[in-house]
Amino acid sequence: MAPSQPAHVNLSPAELSFLRSSLSQTPPIRLDNTKGPRDFRSMIAEYDVLPSTNGSARIALEDGTEALVGVKAEVEKSQWRPNVEGRHTLSVAVGVDVDMADDDGQEGEENKGKGQNGWIEISVEIPGFREDDALPVFLASMLTESLLASGELKDRLYINQRFHWKLGIDVLLLSPPLSYPLALLSMTTHLALLTAHLPALKSEKDEDPLFDDDWDAAVPLYPKHDAQGGTNVDKPPIIVLAIAVGSNIIFDPCKEELAVADAVLAVGCAPSNASSTGARIVSIRTIDPPAHLTPPAVPNSMNSATGGVAPASTADALTQRELLSATGVWTPPRGGMKRSLISQVTSMVVGKGGVAEEVIAALQAIEVG
């Protein structure tokens, strides 16, 4: 796993072995036995908690982990860049924009502004970590790349040729990370973005921007309806955490479950453009399972305190340990993840009626309800 500090597993080998054997049952027995492998831990969510932001949300998990996200939009002057024709056009970000077949700056782009990656800034703060520690950096970059890949958000930040919105998304974990906080942070960010509003623009074209001071007139950052009046399906991405234990796949693991995982996968997904159901993948990252750092159990046969004989040399110990097939002795997992398992996870996440769809729907329901 990314960070070495919170990943530090402090469970005894006997506990690890116990957890592993319960999670590898079919169906797996989870730590909270009322939950199935696809179930998320129950949580408490609310939005619009910070009045001085454009959008905010707070989600608390039952283990006490709590995240707070504030989205703040500020008007910023766009950078000017001389074009080859000597005409001034907005500099264009290159990359993920699929729909723009031709972006070499020859065509007029006044009609539709294009956003830049730099207009969105995500910072993640976790108590007990420095800003440049591995965990916050990793979380921030995963959140950023999912957000940038998932749609036209950055294009909506375009005001006119001279100005744009700069979106600052500040993610705060209010408690020390008791479990791997990625999914929690992404859900909170999702909710904050979903409920974020930008003041309505009153000025036209390339004038200095002037905004309506009526908050009721503000436009949502993620409009519910597109220009044609149809429902807009563009929503912020969410990231789902899944672990594999043997052939079982378990979603939203708690700390103890994470500790015995063979592999951990974070899947970022956004609602699919094409249909109202299902989702599409915008990013995948593996996370190092903390089990790699756990101590292997000393089997009774090798422990002088339990009537066994301690091996005389490390070479000997190695042979005995490798031959160990007795169940109930914890051995840290080795190697990686089978590709078939990854595709199983992704299809469970983004398939029809998959986990992503349900989570997005549940978060949507908060705003509606």
């Binding site: 005894s12 027995i29 129950s42 408490i44």
Partner: protein, 346 residues
Amino acid sequence: MPITIRAPNLPTPHDALARAASPSDSEMSDDDLPSGTSGTSIVTPGETITSDPQWMRGHGTYIPPSTTTIVSTVAGHLHKTNKLLSVQALRARYTPEIGDLVVGRIVSVGTKKWSVDIAAPMLASLPLSAINLPGGILRRRTAVDELNIRTFFSEGDLLVAEVQSLHQDNTASLHTRSLKYGKLRNGMFTSLSGAGGGVLSRRGGVVRSKRQTFTLNTAAGEIDVVLGVNGYIFISAHATSPSNAAATAEDKDISITRLDEAVSETLYSSQNDEITPGVLREITRVSTLIKGLAAAGRRVDEDVIVRVYEGAVELEAEEKSLGITDKGVGAVGVVQAVLERLELGG
């Protein structure tokens, strides 16, 4: 529905306090309530409890110099024992007391002792001289034991022990010199206090009682529950008693120390026995229920656990027969459902 999201519940202070305070209320008669408590037995830091000099100050209180007023220093329930006034904090770390049965986790291994986390503000210590050494009869420790200290307990290992003594600075010294203490395995650990206390567990904890360890009979088999006074709980598959283990072991030489040997062979094992899936499931069920109890603000003791466990099994069986497969209600949901039924039933 794999995901349950609830709106934050606004605190209902009056209701919550009344319920939480009820056990201690009964022992305090209204007529001699000291002044300044405004009807409830909850006091906050700085609140004057009484200025009557007849009362003596106890834990959680303080008398400002040159006055006779007793002032609370913590937020919690007011307790009165004869003329002694003490305030028990609503939420506090565990303070060890001699004789407490605690569940602890090894934090570090020293040359002659282990440091153990027992949820107290300071780590407890377990000297090498305070454990049962393997090899039968209680023997003196040797230099070899010191070198092999890690074979007994190493970092992360769980153990059940008794608080043997307290030092000046309130650090506890533990011992495991009894066959009922020692390393824990074949089960899982649950914590009701410490860092795990989140939004859902503001109250609750383990009740100090006569019996901290008990065996629960389930359909799948027997389950041992160790309720550490410190809020650490270990639930495991029932260990076959030492005599059985010795009988099953095909030992040829029958000696007096045989029983001890059989014990010592598994005393420091960190290898689990074979546990049937049924037992695994029941162990996690008990652990979930205990967490749910804590989250629902109930104090946890043997009686409550047994009752809630039986209720939950019954509830599940009924739901199954009715064809309800209501997964994902969460620990608190189940516990609350069971408690409601129990209260309805009497």
